[in-house]
Symmetry: C2
């Protein structure tokens, strides 16, 4: 039941169009955006949350697995910067992940104070499981919406971010890892 292309059904109870380029900024549309983000994000995370609950973990654990998997060899400090949380908050999640064998730390080569983080096989397997669950959700949404909508989605989401988040995002997709051979 893919939505009909073209016409946004989001312009409900509106005055007659008065510019089509300003129109889309009206209040109801912005409230709709709030609704969309709330429901969309909640359901996006719901599948993974269920898996995590069985393992006595939460969303925070998933985020660590996700970003460590995305950037193997990431330092604790970089991870803190990406997540935007405190050392203590990260510690309470990261320490158990290491103890339970999902993540390994090895000292940095250039700077031995650093702890470079990596997923173990076990960690990678769990991350993959969580990813696959979300993949279904996202793929369905992407397929229903079509490639052009996906591109629009990306642009809007990026626009919602502050400078820091944009930089972090770019750093994730870009360089796979800054040297540091094993």
């Amino acid at each position: 039941m893919p939505a009909p292309p073209g016409e946004p059904d989001a312009t409900r109870g509106a005055q007659p169009p008065a510019g089509r380029n300003l129109l889309f900024l009206r209040e109801e549309e912005l409230r709709l955006a709030q609704d969309l983000l709330f429901f969309g994000y909640r359901d996006f995370t719901a599948g993974a949350d269920a898996i995590l609950a069985d393992l006595n973990m939460g969303r925070a654990h998933h985020r660590v697995l996700h970003f460590v998997g995305r950037r193997p060899g990431i330092t604790v400090g970089e991870l803190l910067g990406i997540l935007g949380i405190t050392k203590q908050s990260l510690g309470r999640v990261l320490t158990p992940l290491v103890e339970d064998g999902y993540v390994v730390q090895r000292p940095g080569r250039a700077d031995r104070r650093q702890r470079l983080l990596q997923l173990t096989e076990k960690g990678a397997a769990l991350e993959r499981r969580l990813f696959d669950r979300q993949r279904e959700t996202v793929m369905r949404a992407y397929r229903e919406a079509g490639p052009q909508a996906v591109e629009g989605f990306r642009r809007v989401m990026r626009g919602l971010m502050g400078e820091e988040a944009r930089a972090a995002l770019d750093s994730l997709g870009g360089p796979p890892a800054p040297a540091e051979p094993r």
Copy 2:
């Protein structure tokens, strides 16, 4: 610095294109979606969170203000359904909001067991303040991305939702309130 139109920059480190319509479902693109949702949602809520913190409130309070404002006269049960939380969780947020004069409850006319919720002036003022903060964020994103991207954003976000959320969403934009005159 609006992103260059057309080319998704999300197709990094890719094999040569093999369909362009299947291509956009590849793993890296799905991981990018995870990143976008995490950063985007976080920064979207950040502004309102800051205001709320000063008032010793949290996101949950905002959600109540938002949905009560969006649907004046909503019952507690409907609100529970929309938020997807338990009665107890709602109570801990709603009771203080009523005590502090942000929300009023009046018994239902047709069914006096119900408590119909409404914002007071004070509540509407706070909701407006929170809304305005998020409005800036969303407007910037919408403007940078353009109307077509906005439409795509809407379609994808909607696609992320489950059946229930879609129904709830539709009920929000649609009928302003089911009768029940004061």
